[in-house]
C-alpha cells in the first residue's frame, strides 16, 4: 500500500518537476533576451536617438518572471540555500524528520506568498491597473505569469513533501534525503569545472554528480 502510494507521489512529483525544469530554462532564456533588449535600447538611445522608454518596467517584469519560474527547478536541483552544518552531525532518525520539517516550513511560507500573489493579480484585474510606462502594460499580465511560477513551486513543494513523508514512513528515509539535501561543495566545484571544460583532466572532481537523479 505504502509502496504504491510512494510510486504515485513520485510520478506526480516527476511530472511537475519536469514542468518546473522546462520553466527554469525558459526563465534563463528570458534573462538572455532581457540583456539583448536592454543593450538594444541603450545603443538605440545613444546612436539612433530613440528608446522604447519602458526598459525599466519591462526588464523588471522579466526579472519577476525569471525568479518565479525558476523557483521549482532550483528546488529540484537542491540549490535553495539551507544551513545543514548542524543537522549533518545528527543521526538519521532525527535528520529525516528535520528534512520534512524544513520542507513543511517552505510550504507554509510559499503558501502565504502564493495567496498574496493571487490576491495581487485579482486586485490588478479588478482595478484594471497598468504601469506608468508608455506601453501602459496591464499589470495582471506580468503579475499573472509571476504568480503561475509561484503556484507551480508550491505544488512541487507539496508533492515532494508527500513523497518524502511517505518515504520516511516506509523506512526509506535515505531516498528522501537524496531528494532534499543541500548541494555539496564537490557538486559546486564539479559544475564549475564542467563549465570550464576541465573535467577530463580532473576525473576525481565528478564525485556525486548524478548520484541523485
Amino acid at each position: 500500500m505504502l509502496d504504491r502510494m510512494i510510486v504515485a507521489a513520485a510520478l506526480c512529483r516527476r511530472l511537475v518537476a519536469r514542468l518546473g525544469t522546462f520553466m527554469g530554462y525558459a526563465a534563463g532564456w528570458g534573462f538572455i533576451l532581457c540583456a539583448a533588449f536592454i543593450t538594444f535600447d541603450v545603443l538605440a538611445r545613444r546612436f539612433l536617438g530613440f528608446s522604447s522608454q519602458s526598459t525599466t518596467e519591462l526588464t523588471g517584469y522579466a526579472l519577476a518572471f525569471g525568479i518565479s519560474w525558476a523557483l521549482a527547478h532550483t528546488l529540484t536541483s537542491r540549490a535553495h540555500v539551507r544551513i545543514d552544518v548542524l543537522i549533518n552531525f545528527l543521526p538519521a532518525k532525527i535528520r529525516y524528520p528535520m528534512h520534512l520539517l524544513s520542507l513543511a516550513a517552505l510550504a507554509v511560507f510559499v503558501g502565504f506568498v502564493a495567496k498574496g500573489a493571487w490576491d495581487l493579480v485579482d486586485e490588478s484585474l479588478l482595478f484594471g491597473a497598468t504601469d506608468i510606462s508608455v506601453l501602459r502594460t496591464p499589470l495582471w499580465i506580468p503579475q499573472g505569469l509571476w504568480t503561475f511560477g509561484i503556484l507551480v513551486f508550491l505544488v512541487l513543494i507539496l508533492l515532494m513533501l508527500a513523497e518524502s513523508t511517505l518515504l520516511v514512513l516506509a523506512g526509506r528515509g535515505s531516498e528522501a534525503e537524496a531528494l532534499l539535501h543541500q548541494r555539496t561543495y564537490d557538486e559546486e566545484a564539479a559544475e564549475a569545472l564542467e563549465a570550464v571544460g576541465a573535467l577530463d583532466t580532473l576525473p576525481g572532481a565528478a564525485i556525486d554528480k548524478g548520484a541523485t537523479t
Binding site: G24, T39, T55, R82, A105, V110, G116, A117, E191
Partner: protein, 459 residues
Amino acid sequence: MIAIVFLLVLVGLMVAMSFLGIGPGNLLIGEVLLLVGLFLLFFGAGIYIGAALGVLGLIIGFAFSDRPFWTFIGQTVWNPSSSFVLVAVPLFLLMGEILLRAGLSDRLYKALNVWLDRLPGGLLHTNIAASGVFSAISGSSVATAATMGSVALPFFKGTRYDPKMVLGSLAAGGALGNLIPPGITFIIYGLITETSVGALYLAAVGPSILVVILFILVILWKAKTAAPLADPDTPRLPLSVKLRSLVDLAPTAILILIVLGTIYGGLATATESAALGVIGAIVFAAIEGRLSFKMLNDSAEATARNTALIGLILFGAYVLNYVFVGLGVPQALAKLVGEMPLPPWAVMLLIIGFYLALGTFMEGFSMVITTIPVIFPVVVALGYDPVWFGVIVTMLVEIALISPPDGTVLYVLQGMRRDGGPITDVFSGVIPFFLVYILGVLILMWFPQLALWLPKVAQ
C-alpha cells in the same frame, strides 16, 4: 566553533546589560532574545533560509501585529521581484556563466604570467592577479576559485613552490571577486538599503587596491621560502612576446572596460552595463568558437537557478522586514544600540565580529539579505556612512569565504588538488591572507576616506 562562541558572547552581553538595567528597552531585550533564539533554531534545523525568514515574519506578525499584515504580502514580494536595480544581478551572473564557458581564463592566466614572472614570488602573484581580474567579471567566488584553480594548479606541478602558499594565494584571489567592481553583493546591498550602486562601486576602488597591495606584500614577504628563486641568468622575455600576450588579455580588458567604463563614465546604470557585458561576453565566446546552443542553454540554466536561489531568500527577508518595520523593530533596535554605554567604534567592532562569525557557516548573499535590514538602521543611527558600510560588509562577506575552517572556497580548492595533501595545508596557506584582509577592514575603519573620497570627487 569560533562563530558559536562569539554569538554566545554577544547574547551574554545583551543579557548582562538587561540585568544591569542599562538601556530603556528591557522588555524589548526579552523579545529580541526570543527572536534570536527562534532564528538560530530555524537555521540550525536546516530550514531553507528563505522559508525560515518568511515563517519567522508570519509568526511575529500573527503574534504582535494587530493589523491584517498578510494582505500586503503580495505587494511586498512583488516589489523586489520586479525591481530594475535587481535585474543587474541575473545579468552579471549570466555574463560570468558565459565567460566561464568561453575559455578566456586559460589565456588570461598565461598572459598575466608573462608580465609577472620576474617578481619575487612569481606565479603566486599571477594567482592573485588572474583571480582578481577574472572575479571582476564573474559573479561567484566559488566559480572563480574553481576556474582559476583548474587553470593554475597544473602550472605548479613539479615546481618548488610551497603548496600551502599556492593554495592560499588562489583562495585569496577568489575572495577579491565581489569586492572588485562590479560585484553582486553591492547590488543587493544597494537594493535593500536604497544606496546608489554606482557610489558603492566607486567606493570599492580604494579598498580593492588596498587589499591587493596587502596580498602582494604577503607574497613578497613569504617569497623567499615559498617560491623558487628567480634565476637571474634566464633571459628576459623579449618585449615582443610580452606585447603579443596582451592580445590574450584584450577580450577580458575590453569587457571590463565596457562594464566598468559605462558605469563610472555615467553613461549607463549598473543594470544597463551588465546587459552590455552579457552581449559582449557572447560576442567574445563567438570569436573563441565556443558559442553554441548548448553553451548558452547551460549558462541560462545556471543563471536562472542562482537567481531563484537569491529570489527566495529576498522574498523571505522582505516579508520579515515588512512585519519588522510595521512593529518599529529596526528603529527600536537602533535606539537601543544608540543608548548603549559603548562608543560607536566598539559597536562597529561587535558588528564586524558578528559578520565574521556568521560568515563561517552562512553563504554571503544569504548573510547580507538576512542581516542588513536589521543592522543597517543601527549603523546609520551610529552616524556611519551607508556607502562606507556597504564596502565593509562586502569585505566581511569575502573574508567569510576564506575563513578556516568553514570557508567554501577552501574546500573547492582542496577538492581540486591532486597531490593528496591534507586540508590543513589550505588552512595554513590562507591564514596570512585572511589576517591582512581583516587588517584591511580595520584600516578602512580608521580611514573611511579611503572608500569615500572617490564617490565624493565624482559628484
